[in-house]
Amino acid sequence: MTEKGLSRRRFTQSLGIVVASFALAPRAAFNQAPGTLPFSLRNNRRLEGWIRLEPDETVTIFTGKAELGQGILTALAQIAAEELDVGLEKIRIVGADTSRGPDEQYTFGSQSVEQSGSAIRAASAEVRGILLAAAARRFGVRPEDLQIRVGIIASLDGKRATFWEVASADPSLLTGDIAAAAAPKKPSDYSFVGKSVNRIDLPGKLTGAPSYVQDMRLPGMIFARVVRPPRYGAKLVSLDETAVRSLPGVVAVVRDGNFLAVAAKREEQAIAARNALASAVHWSDDAVPLPDIADLRGELQRLRAETIVVGASGQSEPAPDQAKRVSAEYGRSYLSHGSIGPSCAVAWLKDGRMTVWSHTQGAFPLRGDLAKVLGMPNAQVDVVHMPGAGCYGHNGADDVALDAALVARAVTGAPVKLQWMRDDEFAWAPFGPGMAMRVEAALASDGKIVDWSYDVWSNSHAMRPGQAGGVNLLAAWDLSTPFAKSPAPHIPQPFGDGDRNAVPPYELPRKEIRNHLLLDAPVRNGSFRTLGSHGNIFAIESFMDELADVAGSDPLAFRLAHLRDPRARAVLQAAADKAGWTPGKKGDGRLGRGIAYCRYKSIGMYAAVMVDVEVDRKTGAVKVPRVVMAADIGRVVNPDGAKNQLEGGIVQAVSLTLMEQVAFDRREITSRDWSGYPILRFPEVPSIEIILMDRNDPSLGAGEGSLPPTSAALANAFAHATGRRMRALPMTPKRVKASLS
């Protein structure tokens, strides 16, 4: 990156984050290690792979996690500053980069603080320990007679040296395998961790500094667009590209099987050529038959499935016969990630190396799939993470990276920026799969649940690149020599896939939970924030209210009667106290209040939420004036950052619950812009109050866990207000009116 292009220095200064790297030699400094180390250190042992002291008296931290707008780089910088005892302003942090960073696979599942945070904490403690020992030798004193204050080591007799002075005396000092023997600080000694710290990347993003992959400008860069078929299954029959080739600025028309793209000198020329190409191509009438959206629940249950029991207890005893049996079925539609910025990548084939800048959630797995498709060794392909618009899961980020690489290969030497258009993203990115849930339970006369039977049907929510048995990239399936899609993986509990959070958190003497993993995927499926947890918690927590109603219990008391975990009980009580929960209070046909609880992934953060609704019976519109959530995320690294994530999950959940569904007819996706896929707008957003529980337990990720219980509490609030239950999401005005008539 030179002259006219955006220099790396400019990026660095503007963001406080080193985000771009263009000419670094690949490194293979990562060895295997025993299982006692923090998870992310096991395959990334080398200290210099995580932390480097720079000549300009800064510290560079390398993480394998990616900034997705969740503020993770700030939280990890806080952890490093804390353990190293340097000021936060001294920390530069590099996100996922196959050319120089640790391989931490994916940034997903609310695991970054747990995984990368633990690794960085251990590596930082090690660096601190090594520097202290070296300074002790230098000063001829014992390490325990030294003090560290903001990057300066001082002895009792007045000798001083900065970290950088100590380190510069021996270039090999901070290299080698991490022993992880240095004890990290006690949480009670923390001065940065636990404080709200402003995001280090926001000032740049809010003043127009180059921050996103969309903002990259490389010398000689050209612009590309793709032309996708009108529907799943359609084949490219014929193409007359002569007219398109003669359009202003057109550099190349790239066709390989059913993959079609065009590159031009200017961006608007690429878009004009894309539109012309779309008229010049003839697609076959082939289509993948899509489910009948009006009977989605039934359609899903009729697809081929592999059934796995994912949780069971008490099955050796017969089902109790004296109890009252209750059952219900629930459904959730397909969901779009709805990123505000369509997916984008920059690819450059130069001197036999392919470098792709991408807002992927998994730089290393993506690199592997790209290398397979390009027929290049992994070592000749690099993926460098650059921020994009928020993704909320597996959107088109990985797919567009391959699209760009295919064009870059066809125009060797020129960097290519390819951004999807709005309809590419809405019609072709993976969706959060539609889900069907069925619950049956038995209530004893004392109001206790004595039996529980649960079924969930959905496609896999885990179809990312890097999985065995194929390639999970859209264009790879369309090439003249196509690659097979990877089969759905089997992700065991407690993480789960469509069955995430399908095992209820309640004390149940007898239960069986079955996951029906659907084998046919008519609609493209992938990971949407929380995977199956959203649908499962919607079903379980709706059903808990239905059971409480049958038992004549208050929904809060009914839950508490079936919960032993004190942290679960504490969040429920805290949310109830804050919201002012009145047991036994009846809805009035218009106003109502609902409650729900979830421990995300069964081992993650705890959340209890109260949602108020206001139902307009005439229009069917449901408004949510207020949401109160109590969350226990263990030790909090950045309270305001965590709250921001929790609030975002709540707003997104209200949006999903009230209005979101991917629309399709029996042949093709029909929701292709924001009018076809509306999301919540400013006047509809609830006021939100978050209570963060004060805990000293290990940190639990906060990126997702607020979403599932919010949907359920909203549905419960509607039932409380109206006496009618909505068992299919979204609760559109049309469905609301139908349920009230």
Binding site: L68, G69, Q70, G71, N198, R199, D201, L202, P203, G204, K205, L206, T207, G208, A209, P210, S211, Y212, Q214, D215, R217, R266, E267, E268, I271, H337, G338, S339, I340, G341, P342, P387, G388, A389, G390, Y392, Q419, R422, D640, G641, N644, Q645, E647, G648, G649, I650, V651, Q652, S655, D673, W674, S675, I679, L680, R681, F682, P683, V685, S687, I688
Partner: protein, 153 residues
């Protein structure tokens, strides 16, 4: 075709087809990053700039139609070193997650505050209704706009 446009107080010569959406001229010819491509349909507001005093979807207005109207983008409000009160307030309230929609939020808020220096929360929400945010930072944005209005007093 050669055009002259005035952006953030500076006059620029631009050569592009008359039907070129202003967005691509701002981003690619002038190397401005504030306005973002979001939908190209005028639905989301990520590309917003102020053209002739009006909040404008730069993905829809063509270079030819800009005429002599003065253009202000996010970069024209303030800088990293000297942020505009709105930018300052968005930072203070941490009113962003991914930040991709923030350009449109700030530009729409600028137009609102120019017209109504002391808006109520409801007026702020209504003014931002056509600006889409997917991360869910709406409440923080409303607080930031309110704070900016206070700062300007």
């Amino acid at each position: 075709m050669a055009y002259r446009i005035t952006v953030n107080g500076e006059s620029h010569a631009v050569t592009a087809a008359p039907e070129t959406p202003l967005l691509y001229v701002l981003r690619n010819d002038l190397e401005l990053n504030g306005p973002k491509f979001g939908c190209g349909l005028g639905q989301c507001g990520a590309c917003a700039a102020i053209v002739g005093g009006k909040l404008t979807r730069t993905c829809l207005i063509t270079l030819e139609d800009v005429g002599d109207d003065k253009i202000t983008t996010l970069e024209g409000l303030g800088t990293l070193q000297k942020p505009h009160p709105l930018q300052r307030s968005f930072i203070d309230e941490q009113a962003a997650q991914c930040g991709y929609c923030s350009n449109g939020m700030i530009m729409a808020a600028k137009v609102l505050l120019d017209r109504n220096p002391n808006p109520s929360d409801e007026e702020i929400k209504n003014a931002l209704e056509d600006q889409l945010c997917r991360c869910g930072v709406h409440n923080r944005v409303v607080r930031a706009v309110r704070r900016a209005a206070e700062l300007a007093k």
